[in-house]
Symmetry: C2
Subunit: 567 residues, 2 copies
């Protein structure tokens, strides 16, 4: 790696990447500078990057040790991560006295503010490049905190997360440089008198310290947008990881601190706030006056609490939602079934974007394979899932591990909710016998029965989905609307060959503000979004008040201060 480059050199080094990212967020065509294939890294891949064995070794070397960060105010050690694959990580992280740490973060900001948007973007891109070079190490860190299978942890926790971080840097750079010129001359004519003249100077200033409250399932993918958006706009960032997913963000903080120090800035612009079991420091941190921005992914209850109580901060939340797929008709029945089966199975449905409610007309659907009754469709979908996960090796590679006992309990309780169309199966993982691996459960519900609503009208996070019989497609669209409006949705999917039905569904998504995927039957899934092109969430329904990533996600992380002088 290129250690000790000046900011001018970093700006030069990363200019092409930044320019391409700026193009990509405008064209929204496919683009990524971060290869997603494991073989792209290591001795035969990108220069200076860790290969598979090195990444594994780096992860193993960290286990059972203290994770040193040399940040101010460390008053002890905390850490109790247990891999969902069944072993203790045994890593202890610095525990912070925030009364010492927060002033250090504040003190680091003026020089960072003075550096300006371009230098900040370049330093952020260097941090991302260094993280990218360690993708193999991050893959294990993400796998053994989230329970994602290796390949998903590698891709979603590595290049895809890095893409989202880079995207946030691009938005931050664009918004800051667009906000105002550095200087302006203002000359106002006064008829026959001399004009009024002012010299104006505009400076982008940070809001303050930004708090990232990490989540268990996607510590880097969900964490990087807020972290890099705040850092690139001049804020210092305090990273409070989920107690069960500290390592990926601790590694991130370490790389960031190294790069910042090498570039001549205070490393205290990024710091870690690990916590002891049950300490709940997010709640006290969130209302500290120093904290002016908060990024949060997690439960609706705590997200709502943050929005209501962290009044001194700009709060960006991604909370729970209920994702719907409307099944009206298809001209590719097989493709639809396999696409849906994959969506329901990926990471055991532990994604905020996994479909939960499949709304199907009770009279059945028209397909290229003939009319399918409600029961036939559900049975065929169950078979598709069974086939997809029939081989244990493939099942393990797709499902990963159940992240916590609450998800497991939900799977076990699902049978009580209705008629089970597909029962969950336990899969053995020969590499990690301690892992809990479960296939999805599909439960049939009758949408017309009031008692069914209790099941399908709340989020059941994990591999549980509901095949809900509705009176018609129009009825499905009405339920879709109500679900998005009242419960929120990160994703909506729909299958239809009818122009009228498509218009109805599209109109519902436009009016209720939900992101829609139509007729996906190939290798793109409703639960996946690509940085630079897809918006993750809409920010306009109760599932999230923010979008990854758009202008609104960055525009209020900074302010513009004007100094005007008589000319």
């Amino acid at each position: 790696m290129t250690a000790g480059l000046t900011t001018a050199q970093l700006i030069e080094k990363h200019r092409p990447t930044l320019d391409q990212a700026l193009d990509a967020i405008r064209s929204r065509a496919y683009w990524s500078p971060h290869p997603e294939h494991p073989k792209a890294y290591g001795p035969e891949g990108a220069p200076g990057s860790l290969g598979a064995a090195e990444g594994q070794a780096a992860f193993d070397a960290q286990r059972g040790k203290r994770f040193e960060l040399e940040q101010p105010g460390t008053d002890g050690w905390a850490g109790s991560e247990v891999s969902p694959y069944g072993f203790e990580l045994g890593i202890e992280y610095p525990h912070a006295d925030v009364d010492v740490l927060l002033p250090a973060l504040r003190a680091a900001m003026p020089a960072w503010r003075e550096a300006g948007p371009r230098a900040r973007a370049a330093v952020c891109l260097e941090i991302l490049a260094r993280i990218n070079a360690r993708t193999h190490e991050f893959a294990h860190a993400v796998m053994h905190t989230s329970g994602q299978a290796f390949m998903m942890a590698f891709q979603a926790g590595g290049p895809h997360a890095q893409d989202r971080g880079l995207e946030a840097v691009a938005y931050a750079y664009a918004e800051q440089t667009n906000a105002a010129p550095e200087t302006a001359e203002w000359v106002k004519p006064q008829g026959k008198r001399d004009p009024l003249k002012l010299n104006k100077q505009f400076t982008t200033v940070p809001r303050g310290v930004s708090l990232l409250i990490g989540c268990n399932t996607f510590p880097t993918w969900n964490g990087y947008p807020g972290l890099f958006a705040s850092l690139a706009t001049g804020n210092a960032v305090l990273v409070k990881p989920h107690p069960r997913a500290v390592l990926p963000l601790a590694l991130t903080v370490r790389v960031a601190r190294e790069v910042l120090a090498e570039a001549g800035f205070s490393p205290d612009l990024v710091a870690l706030a690990a916590e002891r079991d049950g300490e709940g420091i997010a709640k006290s941190l969130a209302v500290r006056p120093e904290i002016r921005v908060i990024d949060y992914t997690g439960s609706t209850a705590f997200g709502d609490w943050l929005e209501a109580n962290a009044r001194q901060a700009q709060v960006f939340t991604e909370k729970a939602g209920v994702n719907t797929v409307v099944v009206d008709s298809t001209d590719d029945y097989k493709g639809m079934l396999s696409n849906l089966a994959f969506s329901l199975s990926l990471y055991s449905g532990q994604m905020c974007t996994t479909p939960q409610n499949l709304l199907i007309p009770r009279e059945g659907i028209a397909t290229d394979a003939g009319h399918k009754t409600f029961d036939e469709f559900v049975a065929d979908l169950a078979t598709a899932v069974e086939k997809l996960l029939g081989d244990d090796a493939r099942a393990n590679a797709l499902l990963g591990a159940i992240v916590n006992d609450q998800v497991k309990a939900r799977i076990d309780a699902a049978a009580q909710l209705g008629e089970v169309a597909l029962a969950s199966r336990t899969v053995a993982n020969p590499d990690f016998p301690g892992a809990t691996v479960r296939t999805p459960v599909i439960v049939k519900l009758d949408g017309a029965k009031p008692d069914a609503e209790a099941a399908y009208f709340s989020e059941c996070f994990g591999p549980v989905s509901f095949a809900v019989a509705v009176d018609s497609t129009a009825d499905a669209v009405e339920l879709l609307r109500r679900t998005v409006r009242e419960k929120g949705a990160m994703t909506v999917g729909a299958y239809t060959t009818s122009a009228d039905a498509e218009r109805l569904i599209e109109e519902a998504c436009l009016e209720e503000c939900a992101q829609l995927s139509l007729n996906l039957t190939g290798g793109v899934y409703v639960n996946q979004t690509a940085a630079f092109s897809d918006f993750h969430g809409s920010g306009g329904n109760p599932a999230a008040n923010a979008v990854l990533c758009d202008s609104a996600f960055v525009a209020s992380r900074f302010r513009t201060v004007e100094v005007r002088r008589q000319a």
Copy 2:
């Protein structure tokens, strides 16, 4: 006026103005399409515009009558405006059954959303052009609700407010068109396999119904940015004026409804919610689920309440602050005194931008007229104010009328707060004998005495300012910092010839996020900001969470919905 143009014609008509506005918000040079001289309107001025006599007549014709709007859900009439110049307006406005009116606003939105950003901008510009043509009428409406003197009501309530509205339209247009292309093709290589392909379609969608809660002192200037930002981003806008300043916004709603209807949209995209005395409908409206955006200018107490309680909405507030001027030294003592005297006097200090605390080293200041002791400076400033307002006609033209009894009570109570350096004088207004016209009061305080803080450390809205003796300029900057951080500030002013002091003050404003005017001694005043060039407020201190106008002010009023289809 050009009635009944199609949206395509409106787009063509207003394209040059929109393009110039888009240039101006980027260059931040001086620009305005709205002449500020009264003679620019009328028979010899802009075609189709009302002249002075016609504006007066239009205002007079409205007095003592019902103000018809023909909006849905009118269940009675409300109105009890009394001009601060001492007479009842006697106008009654439709009182709304919001359970009828809000659904009408919602129903109007889909067609407005479908029209797209360019058509919406054009319709907004047509509304502003029609308002501009009636500037003489608006001047009387603003004068007799806010108490502003005629010329200020004409300019600030007319062209300057229209500028701020146009600026918001420009920002809204820029952000929407920048958010995403209308469509994108996404092609992701898959090595030797076929690439993944998606067609994506991006649509700007409104958040919902936007609520404008108007203020008493600047109903149009403070109201137009939120109104036009929301309308241009596809939202319907419900206008809830201050009960004492209904007419300027009622006239605005009428023009907006006319233009919308002529352009083929539902007039219900803009509606009025007038209220009966003491009804307090803002509180119940603000928490309605239909209301997704709120713009508010007013007291800190209600602003804080809105931010804490209107959780379903994006809330933009401008609240109270304590504006400071640091007086360190000057090379134009006379210019400084006359500039400050004007700032303290304009509209009887009833501006959110009027300086309140003048921080002066107790050992005095260096000036081009020799060293001035604290007492000498304060006496000279008092003399400058007295001279400025010595002539009653000029005093009336500058001061306007006291807007309400609370302001009058504050003037009368000021003498108890400390040594009076300049007593307030009552000025007779021969044209309006019922007007309460008062000159500013200046009170000396010793910043080192703890009991003085109770006076200078809270907003005393109106023509009351404090000359606060501090130990040094460094001490002044510390107090400035603490004031901005804890109380907020819309403006900061400073006078200094020292590069060190200037740097200290500038750094304080950058770190505490306040807009700074340095060494103003001519015809620009700290309390004035110009659209397209100056930011009104910073959004980064407690005085306001929003800025007029920046990207953050518009970016979260809309969302982008993506529909993606397999290609």
